[in-house]
Symmetry: C2
Subunit: 630 residues, 2 copies
Amino acid sequence: MTERYVFGTPFDTEAVLDKPAASPESALGHGLKLSADKKKVSYDLDKDDVIYGLGESLHGMNKRGFVYKTFNTDQTKHNEDQYSLYGSHTFILIEGAKGSLGLFTDYPGLVTYDLGFTDKDVLTITAEEADYEMYVITGKSGLEIITEFRKLIGKSYKAPLWAFGYGQSRWGYKCEDDIREVVRRHKENNLPLDAVYMDIDYMDNYKDFTLNPEAFPKFKEFVDEMKAQHIHLLPNVDAAIKIEDGYDMYEEGVKENYYCKDENGEDFIMAAWPGKSVLPDFLRPEVRRWFGLKYRFFTDAGVDGFWNDMNEPALFYSLKGLKETAEEISHLKDETDTLDLYSLWHYLDTMNALANKPEDYRSFYHEPEGKRIRHDRVHNLYGYNMARAASEVFNEIAPKMETLIFSRASYIGSHRYAGIWTGDNSSFYSHIELILHQLPNLNMCGYLYVGADTGGFAFHTSENLLKRFMQVSLFTPLFRNHCALGCREQEIYRFKDIDAFRNLLNLRYALIPYLYKSYVDSIENNKLMFTPIGLAFPEDKEARHIEDQLLVGDDLMIAPVYKANAAGRDVYLPEDMTLYLMKSDKDFTKTELSKGHHFINVDIDEVPIFVRKGKSLTLGKPAMSTAELE
Amino acid sequence: MTERYVFGTPFDTEAVLDKPAASPESALGHGLKLSADKKKVSYDLDKDDVIYGLGESLHGMNKRGFVYKTFNTDQTKHNEDQYSLYGSHTFILIEGAKGSLGLFTDYPGLVTYDLGFTDKDVLTITAEEADYEMYVITGKSGLEIITEFRKLIGKSYKAPLWAFGYGQSRWGYKCEDDIREVVRRHKENNLPLDAVYMDIDYMDNYKDFTLNPEAFPKFKEFVDEMKAQHIHLLPNVDAAIKIEDGYDMYEEGVKENYYCKDENGEDFIMAAWPGKSVLPDFLRPEVRRWFGLKYRFFTDAGVDGFWNDMNEPALFYSLKGLKETAEEISHLKDETDTLDLYSLWHYLDTMNALANKPEDYRSFYHEPEGKRIRHDRVHNLYGYNMARAASEVFNEIAPKMETLIFSRASYIGSHRYAGIWTGDNSSFYSHIELILHQLPNLNMCGYLYVGADTGGFAFHTSENLLKRFMQVSLFTPLFRNHCALGCREQEIYRFKDIDAFRNLLNLRYALIPYLYKSYVDSIENNKLMFTPIGLAFPEDKEARHIEDQLLVGDDLMIAPVYKANAAGRDVYLPEDMTLYLMKSDKDFTKTELSKGHHFINVDIDEVPIFVRKGKSLTLGKPAMSTAELE
């Protein structure tokens, strides 16, 4: 059952399209307490209550004990001292002594979740302004509440089957030949591949819907050449539009007044990859349509996959902020002899605060339906509506293609339009563990087409780290090896044990029929694709606190090894299961295990898959691409 | 057996006092390969070889799969993308298919350890210059090699018993009353306490061997007042000396020519907490003695504990570097309209590179025995010789006191003079795990008096995180709760469950007799106090890859819970053991467990202690301080 409470005058995020009637504030029960200013809802926690939710946020699968802030942020440090990542997914599920309770705070600005941090026994949810809707969902179980919530927010985006193929990406592929080499070296080594990603380097000076003409002189032919090899190309599409005289898209937007405005009603000038840029006002349907139709540039050439990036939106700086900072730090020169440390650190902090500055987010405006609204109040809707812009027109501009789109920034509602990836992680073992924690929480917030940058985006991977990362990602819908310019090249063929990597890819492709079926089932039936065993077995006390095992679909459970140099791990089986220890889709051992704790030895080249009682492991035949799957 | 190889003309670090005769280069065997330029030694790894060592470095207990750089660094981010921390401990132990092998690279500058990162099957050790000594140690077992190495480097520093008491610290206690409050609130709550730390705030403008006269008007009386309550005060002593006319210590050093010099033979000017400062040339015995005798300022007042800080040495900037940077970034002001992103990032990088800049470490000099040597070539000896300065004179200036000294920076050799703490960690669960990994590796490098900032230095702790951290630290010689200015206050009495914390402290004090006996035994017999079970049971293949359990002394094993919200953990017993699940020294359950894997449930207020076969758990009676222990 869903109750809806309305506080103040909320902005309609369109997260919920079919809203239940509002309950009077006085009906707010279930132990929830509203503060006098109505910004804060609090709840007393029992000692063993588990809190799920918050989508791609940091920390454990159980979110308890930390603070989270939902304000979409281009945050490259996914460490324990960060509060925000790229997506804001403001649903939590409390599983505890008093039963199960779902809470969705529909507010598109900053919401602070203190989930037993300040006081270990108290949960508080604080919206920056008392203008939001709170949905309170009850049910017989956590999984029932999740399904109820998923129905409320509407059916999730469905990616095509090919989007489950393996993709290779790197910030730094510059031209056709770079991409040809990636494809050739996969083929030469019999490594399955479905996609090569084109990061920002492909563009003409980082202008959206352009190509560097020297690097891609005959793009349509190149797309065809790749298609003939069953390779999809996926260009990156960024939020900001370069300010450049003669750039038709920029000029059209100026003419039509499509960009976000500053306090004075002038186009708000910021910087992203193209340098000085403007931001399309994606909250306006006409701007979305204009931007969406631009994808024809690619779809007409046969491109059927896209990733939307920098759409928090990331601000490298605002022009105003840059000028102020530059003026301020110019004084350092005259102060070096007398400078005290705190003044120096102030200068340093000022420089380092240029990007994604809160003041900048408060200094520009949207005009949805002609009403001016300050950006920070609707900040989390920006990436959502950018992805929506494309998603809404694909049927019109590319009716015969099965397009894929996923985004970095998101807010609940965008799950109906696109998938997401979890942004710029690092080549850290802890980030393998992180995606395990994120998967079920993303699923419950509506995001089914999800995945992490496999091998890690920032920093340098090692062969074994990449293997362990792939052993998780081979179960996720999006399975992309992606890394950053300047980091160690991490295409599979850079390493020694290519045979072992090929086995992992073959296992993925053999699993695709099962994974895709589970994925579609999760969408159609508003279920989780990745289910914590604590939710699947709510009566099992041992299962409640297990954070590194997941049911995948209805039949399988995974318990990956994600620690450096580990030779195995502990697994808890909430029921009897069969362990398949898989070196490849063809080479595996099979062991019957009983309910309870087991330590299992797992070699660096092995993937443990647990088959649930009464279920079986159905593997297809691997192929060099999804197009070649039988 | 120890072989010694000498390459080039090494600087004598005094890590080894009694050097064995050098072997000819041609004798280098054991699968070790020397590069033509003699800078690099490499070794082929077998698949399951485990590599211990490198003291306080990051990553697992098994160091394999990563790169490490030994260059003492004031590094506040202890994340997976860092190569260096505060100490350089250049001993590794390879445990593997070909037996056990110890390698000590005695070079006081940068040594790069690539332990199966670039090539998963190859270990390389690369010294920046081909002027170093390499000790190759063989033996029947890893533990035998460790003992042989420890004998080689000489007996470890022995801290007094009182140094095993609980200490409370915070960057931010400013005056006598702040300290009195800490003591009072511990006493009021019956919380045992032996020490309160005085961080940099106590000084008069951060000048070494001074006190803020307003904050500490009658210091001797204050020390006596604290002593009467069995409280030791431990002032922080920093490396850099403030440049200030009239500051006697600064002026003496100038007069005697005691400071490090720049290229032109002038005093090298850098900044640390006091602002513009100079660095005593601790590599010279006469400078050490001068600095050491300064401790009389404190010992004469009855102070018997010290921590040496900022002695990597940390450089906030060099005056030369600051002037160059300030000049450079002043141009930003004129470029804001035309600036490209890479230029902006260059400015940002330039500002952020002010601290601990490699060029700065190459721009000043020491003059040990009248010979000029560039700092970077002996960098890792700086903190070592600062700690030694004090340690060498305590018997002379405070013969009746049992003094304690520990340092942030270190290099093997300094283990004979002082303990160390593991520097500015954070309130991260991963940093609880980190200290578990560091303890045995520190021990094998000679560091026995060790501990981490309990609760985490940087960032904000939670009640449960502090509990889990204390459940590890209560076994470490140094047991100090320390945190940074601006972070959540984390004295025990700030939290709700004071009873549970008191139980943890009582358990610590009840364990002190056992812990101190084990500590002294480890020193006297050149053993580990914290032993990986893989080393203790070398024939046990299951034990080899267990990184989060440690034998403590001869009788006990610990297997702490260090994950947020975990309700227990897997433990591997290499032999039958008795599990004591301890809520306090008096309230516990006892379970006999057989050799093998077990999942144990561990409540947030429980400490699991495993007693080895044939051994027993001997607890003393808790007391409010070590002085009151029976």
